[in-house]
């Protein structure tokens, strides 16, 4: 399966649905170590992404992701708005104007997303953020793609990687975002941003399956 504008749109649509379905869980993760708005933020942000895509009707997968990112930045607020917004925008830009991206190109786009988040937020692996889900996801995706594996297999590996990364955030002490204010009390909980990253990558895997 190719990653074209339609697939990219289907991805954002599926991600929005997944986040909406799990909004309460994301919120309660955030209530435990943050301020309890991550579910609402992501639901609002991805809905805005869809609206923006619908309004612009982009014809390339890159433009779909740029439109999604702009929608997210414009409506989400909070830490996740700029971070996810920039991530999608940079991923879209990385795809250039190709009408249909290969697995390797999608892998490069995901890597660009990760770089955007790290640059903007200054977080590294181990800081208990979305970076901890996205880093292993990107690595797993690229490993499959580098071996010539198909998009579906790469995306499935990425989703698994993100979920493992999410699980790995539980014992971490947060060093970025609101959870860092809790110091040692942040230990023992999943990071909400890592949880939404896992949902978004699982949505990709399901869409390209």
């Amino acid at each position: 399966m190719a990653f074209d504008a339609q697939t990219a749109t289907a991805w954002i649509t599926a991600a929005e649905a997944a986040v909406k379905a799990d909004e309460a869980r994301l919120t309660s993760l955030d209530a435990a170590i943050g301020d309890g708005d991550h579910g609402a933020n992501m639901a609002r942000g991805l809905a805005a992404a869809l609206t923006n895509i619908a309004e612009r009707a982009p014809s390339t997968p890159g433009d779909v992701l740029v439109a999604a990112g702009r929608g997210i930045v414009a409506k989400t607020g909070g830490a996740s708005g700029p971070l996810y917004g920039s991530a999608f925008r940079r991923a879209g830009k990385a795809l250039g104007d190709t009408a249909s991206a290969s697995a390797e190109e999608v892998g490069a786009a995901l890597e660009a997303a990760l770089t955007a988040i790290k640059e903007l937020g200054g977080a590294n692996e181990g800081d208990k953020t979305m970076v901890d889900a996205l880093t292993p996801a990107v690595a797993a995706f690229q490993a499959v793609a580098a071996d010539g594996g198909p998009l579906a297999a790469a995306a499935a590996a990425a989703a698994d990687g993100a979920e493992q990364g999410l699980a790995a955030t539980v014992p971490m002490q947060a060093r970025k975002g609101r959870a860092s204010y809790l110091g040692p009390r942040s230990v023992g909980h999943e990071d909400p941003g890592a949880a939404s990253t896992a949902l978004i990558l699982r949505a990709l895997a399901e869409v390209v399956q």
């Binding site: 933020n41 414009a74 607020g77 204010y181 009390r185």
Partner: protein, 330 residues
């Protein structure tokens, strides 16, 4: 959850309609969610913009007016505003002498204000940002996102606003704002967490004999849980933390702030303890605020902010201010 609302989705829109109707001195842009002065920006004066998540009322919209903010950008409950919105506030505040962004130190606020400043730059509005981070409860190290901006933000807005009204230029106003932030420390204790309308239940649960020590302003848990104690002890604990971080001495401005669900009669009692503590440590409370100035929805508890005063800061604090929530001298 019982709240005086129509639905969790309409809280901000409804409150903004109410602010617009209650305060003819404000212009409330319901679409962009910007609160600015009805008379527009003062030409030739530095504009002040602040913003952040809603739920902290009267912060920030209640501080828009003569001698304080030019415009405010209220986000969703406990969620920073978005760049376009901050840009709109920045334009509403621009009187040709540049705009100061007063940003509380939270990742979301910092990132969204940064993006807005870039957008403003594209439109040739000069923006300088000051990030407030007065919360002594949080360690300021590379192991945290830094200290949170809390009660001291009110002092920054008032004093920088007075400087702007006097005609100081952007860098001077920014310098004063940074200075106020540097000489201010705050600490907060909660008895019962507030409830975010969309979440529907309190941010944390406390037993009948527990308090949350070192909370922020977003219903987030504090650094540790403690035992309930007389207000004398809770105030003493708070001021010990503040004092250890930055000695409380000389003339100080003190705010005993309610978190939204604690009544004024209790805040006055807390203030009495704060004054006794400070005088016992050789300081003098030269100016004060007691009341709900930076809240966390219906959270029960208090915060204390202490700022070192000098003659300049005192003059700027005493300068006339005319906003819905802070008013004197005119």
């Amino acid at each position: 959850m019982k709240k005086l609302i129509n639905s969790p989705d309409s809280v901000i829109a409804d409150a903004l309609r109410g602010m617009a109707a209650a305060h003819p001195s404000l212009a409330v842009d319901l679409e962009n969610r910007v609160i600015s002065r009805a008379g527009g920006a003062t030409q030739g004066r530095v504009g002040l913009v602040s913003g952040g998540g809603s739920g902290h009322e009267p912060l920030h919209g209640g501080y828009v007016g003569y001698g304080m903010l030019s415009a405010a950008a209220p986000g969703e409950v406990y969620t920073s505003p978005v760049p376009d919105q901050i840009l709109a506030a920045t334009k509403a505040a621009d009187g040709g002498a540049g705009v100061l962004h007063i940003v509380k130190n939270y990742t979301g606020d910092v990132l969204n204000f940064r993006m807005a400043a870039e957008l403003a730059d594209d439109e040739d509005v000069r923006v300088v940002s000051v990030v407030t981070n007065d919360d002594a409860a949080v360690e300021d190290s590379t192991y945290t996102a830094g200290r949170r901006g809390v009660g001291g933000t009110v002092f920054v807005e008032k004093i920088a606003g007075a400087a702007a009204e006097e005609g100081a230029d952007l860098d001077t106003v920014a310098g004063i704002a940074s200075h106020v932030n540097e000489v201010t420390r705050s600490f907060a204790i909660a008895l019962h967490a507030g409830t975010v309308p969309a979440a529907g239940k309190p941010g944390f649960d406390l037993a009948d004999d527990e308090v949350e020590l070192g909370v922020g302003i977003h219903g987030e848990p504090g650094r540790e849980r403690g035992k309930m104690a007389p207000i004398h002890d809770l105030v003493g604990y708070s001021l010990d933390v503040i004092h250890a971080d930055r000695p409380v001495s000389g003339d100080v401005l003190v705010m005993v702030n309610g978190q939204g669900g604690s009544p004024l009669i209790e805040l006055y009692g807390a203030f009495a303890e704060a004054v006794a503590w400070i005088e016992g440590h050789g300081g003098r409370v030269a100016r004060s605020l007691v009341g709900n100035y930076i809240t966390s929805l219906d959270q029960q508890g208090f915060s204390i902010s202490v700022m070192s005063l000098d003659d300049d800061l005192l003059r700027l604090w005493d300068a006339p201010v005319e906003t819905p929530a802070l008013r004197w001298g005119r």
